[in-house]
């Protein structure tokens, strides 16, 4: 059971995140960068599958040079090796372009399943796993809270509005996970030391056989025309409950014609 886990490095959500005025893209330099939180659950899911079925866990990251920090963390959790697609030409790529890059990079490794977090905290588009499945022409098993694999049969519980759907496919397949799936492990000291010598193969767009006109901001299918920092929400009226707090809220709602 060979697993590839897609890992994205994102700006820390506890910092103030910004776009850059020069090209309206995400400012990745001015803030701390971390592994996208849900991706840690994806890594854990991959490691659990390896423990149960054997095989290797490979981390696949598309991102700038700095993303090696996140890759090392993933390796220190127990992944075996990594592929890092890093190329200035990728800067500003949209979700569809990124999915094409990932699909090409997956061609360089052996895998039975690809696992990703369901959503990244920076873009929050939440469609990358579906796009990778589309690009590869393999089944999409997204928003999983549970994964079961027997031979080539993969079954997940996909969270729905009212409960869950049981969805079944054959490998190879692309799975995305939600945070209910497991509790990610912390890297051990031994894991951190071992990660330093685990192989990371770095690939460029050209290495993947993609043209420079297929990636990057200039060729993106969407464009951010302009942006502005939203005016901060003004704090309204706060009252202390004097035994009539509920009534006061009802009065407020009535004054705003909300009831």
């Amino acid at each position: 059971m060979n697993v590839v886990v897609l890992v994205k490095q994102v700006p820390d959500t506890s910092a103030e995140r910004k776009l850059k005025a020069a090209d309206n893209t995400l400012d990745r330099e001015s803030v701390d960068a971390v592994i996208n939180e849900i991706d840690e659950y994806a890594i854990e899911a991959g490691l659990l599958l390896k423990e149960e079925h054997g095989g290797e866990v490979t981390i696949l990251t598309v991102g700038p040079a700095r993303a090696t920090e996140s890759i090392r963390k993933a390796l220190s959790m127990g992944a075996d090796k990594a592929v890092h697609v890093s190329d200035e030409a990728i800067h500003g790529s949209d979700a569809i372009q990124t999915a094409k890059i990932i699909a090409k990079a997956l061609g360089t490794v052996e895998y039975d399943v690809v696992i990703a977090g369901a959503e990244a905290t920076d873009t929050r588009v939440a469609v990358l796993p579906a796009l990778v499945a589309e690009a590869l022409g393999v089944p999409q098993l997204s928003h999983a809270r549970k994964i079961t694999i027997e031979d080539t049969a993969v079954t997940i519980e996909r969270v729905s509005d009212t409960g869950y759907d049981v969805v079944k496919a054959s490998t190879p397949a692309v799975i995305s996970v939600v945070e209910k799936i497991n509790e990610p492990r912390y890297p051990s000291f031994k894991g951190i030391m071992a990660a330093k010598s685990k192989p990371i193969s770095t690939l460029t767009v050209a290495d993947l056989g993609l043209g420079a006109d297929e990636v990057g901001l200039a060729n993106a299918t969407t464009q951010v025309v302009s942006f502005e920092v939203a005016p901060p929400r003004q704090a309204g009226q706060v009252v202390k409950d004097e035994g009539d707090g509920g009534v006061k809220i009802a009065d407020y709602l009535a004054s705003r014609k909300l009831i």
Binding site: T13, R17, N24, I38, A95, I96, A99, A118, T121, T123, R124, A126, V127, A130, L131, A133, E134, A135, G137, P139, Q140, L141, S142, R158, S160, D161, G163, D165, V166, V167, A169, V178, E179, K180, T221, T222, Q223, V224, V225, F227, A230, A235, G236, Q237, V238, V239, K240, D241, G243, G245, G246, V247, K248, I249, A250, L253, A254, R256, L258, I259
Partner: protein, 319 residues
């Protein structure tokens, strides 16, 4: 006038309000046409409502495989319909499944995808609210037919007469589209309450609620308002309520008309999912709770006295 395709969502066999919002938004770009994709017999009951909200045509792709397999068949059907209609844009409401359908559609037809629009302009450019509402961006698609997912409650639905002329669409699904089979749909928490993603009023409970058994206080308040019930991550992580009720960075993003946060401190994780709500009301015993920084109206007090009093008052005023 150019057609604008609107993917129809249903709940309990009726058109969802979020679809009526899309039919309204579509009119600013062109002439709305509804697209119904589902099990055989789905469209018949929907056409009346779609006509009332201005659908000129209703494209109908029906077959048992649409519910039997995940996402991919619907994306293929929609791509076929886009090929026939050559629309000016495709609008779908921003649910997790619809976003995946929209993405796969955009990939297939070589178009750009814009997700979670809060405003759709007449040239099919959009306004998006990112970083938990901290930044507003104007975006557009630079190639192909714009495929846009729109957040619920972004537009007020307005009726307008349409012919709702039925156009049957025959879709021959590829084998690749039938890769992920839905073998069971399990309902865990079914109630009469509206779903979180498109509710116009939401009452959410957090750490302060203290336990699963106390969530009845939140539910009673929600029911007095006809609201959906949400929760903060603290409450879902503790297992008091199911994960799908979580509002926030790693849960659902909502922007209802009214959001009532009960016993929720307002950590950034939660704020990222709700701070674009039109009106925010907070009840919390801690006067320093960050939720009060964004609440339009806040009460510092014990939720177990304030919330039931509010429920009682709302019930009384309804007469």
């Amino acid at each position: 006038m150019a057609e604008v395709l609107v993917l129809v969502d249903t709940a309990d066999g009726a058109v969802k309000k979020s679809t009526l919002e899309l039919l309204t938004a579509a009119r600013s770009i062109g002439e709305p046409s509804a697209v119904v994709i589902g099990a055989p017999g789905t469209a018949a009951a929907l056409k009346g409502t779609l006509a009332e909200y201005g659908a000129a045509k209703v494209y109908v792709a029906e077959g048992s495989d649409f519910d039997g397999y995940l996402v991919a068949p619907k994306a293929e059907a929609l791509a076929t319909i886009v090929g026939q209609a050559a629309p000016a844009a495709v609008l779908v409401s921003s649910t997790s499944e619809n976003k995946e359908i929209a993405a796969r559609l955009a990939f297939k037809i070589g178009s750009g995808l814009l997700t979670d629009a809060v405003t759709v302009n007449s040239d099919a450019s959009v306004v998006q609210s990112i970083f938990g509402g901290a930044v507003t961006v104007q975006s557009k698609v630079s190639q192909g037919v714009p495929v846009i997912t729109v957040r619920a409650n972004s537009v007020a639905p307005e009726a307008s007469t349409g012919a709702a002329e039925e156009v049957a669409v025959d879709v021959a699904l590829s084998d690749a589209a039938k890769g992920a089979q839905v073998v069971d749909r399990v309902v865990e928490a079914k109630g009469s309450r509206p779903s979180l993603a498109d509710a116009s009023v939401i009452v959410s409970g957090g750490r302060g609620v203290g336990g699963a058994e106390n969530f009845s206080v939140i539910e009673a308040l929600a029911d007095s308002l006809g609201a959906a019930v949400g929760a903060s991550r603290a409450a879902t992580d503790a297992g008091w309520v199911p994960h799908q009720m979580q509002v926030g960075q790693t849960g659902v993003t909502v922007s209802p008309q009214l959001y009532i946060a009960v016993g929720i401190s307002g950590a950034i994780q939660h704020r990222a999912g709700m701070q674009t709500s039109k009106t925010i009301v907070a009840i919390n015993k801690d006067p320093e709770a960050p939720i009060f920084e964004l609440a339009d109206f806040g009460v510092v007090g014990d939720l177990f006295t304030v919330a039931p009093q509010l429920t009682e008052e709302l019930t009384k005023r309804k007469g």
